[in-house]
Symmetry: C2
Subunit: 119 residues, 2 copies
DNA sequence: CTGCATCCTAATGGATACTG
DNA sequence: CAGTATCCATTAGGATGCAG
């Protein structure tokens, strides 16, 4: 009884997953790539709007290394690079969608409350 | 066409949600509280095993402020404090469960690959 | 257009000692 | 037992300039 292994759990798949989609922009990037199917570097930068080139590049590289997004380079002048979700990346979409809806509800709640207090 | 609003999206519910469950321990804490229904401070510390009292307390306070967990104090000696999920916190469980399974699959994949290479 | 390099600040997290 | 308080290390993130 009461024996649901209350012991140290160093390797945890929850932790593993959160490390892969944590950070300031990863969730949004995955979501926008899902909405638009494919996005160029500059387009992503415009949508995220508060991101620097350094952070965007760094984040995209991490997502690529973790095999969540594809990077397709067109060897043209000027250069053109398109990003899209991999199959593994697409597997995360249902959960991000779920999370997005939850976030929406919370934001609505907060707005209602502040309106109440303002009366 | 191609007009899925490729414009700046400053307030994003995906971003909102990630800020609430981001951080090194929040996901795991919510998950363990779901598994055990209720956990005392010391029990949480043992399960997380690599957390300091400072981080644990700080994280629990944030989750409490965001109304994701309950904190119940028993005024005894020695003191006893129990943590549990709120209704809002429970709403996050299906999605953490999804993420956990996804993480499991990825970890398995990685193991298979490294075994292949070791042959 | 799509970055990379450098330098810097802010935020996060950790070690340790102490307390009601 | 369940924390606080203090100080320190690490990392995440940002500003700016330059380049293929």
């Amino acid at each position: 009884m009461e024996n649901k292994s209350e012991t140290c759990q160093p390797t945890c798949s929850v932790d593993y997953a959160f490390r892969r989609i944590g950070g300031k922009y990863k969730g949004r990037i995955l979501w926008y790539l899902h909405e638009h199917k494919t996005l160029r570097y500059g387009a992503l930068k415009r949508i995220l709007c508060d991101v620097t080139t350094k952070m965007l590049t760094q984040t995209l590289r991490e997502l690529e290394t973790d095999n969540l997004i594809n990077r397709k380079v067109y060897h043209e002048v000027p250069p053109k690079v398109e990003y899209s979700l991999t199959e593994t990346g697409r597997e995360l979409i249902p959960f991000i969608e779920y999370l997005r809806q939850w976030g929406d509800r919370q934001i609505e709640k907060e707005n209602k409350n502040s309106q109440t207090y303002q009366l």
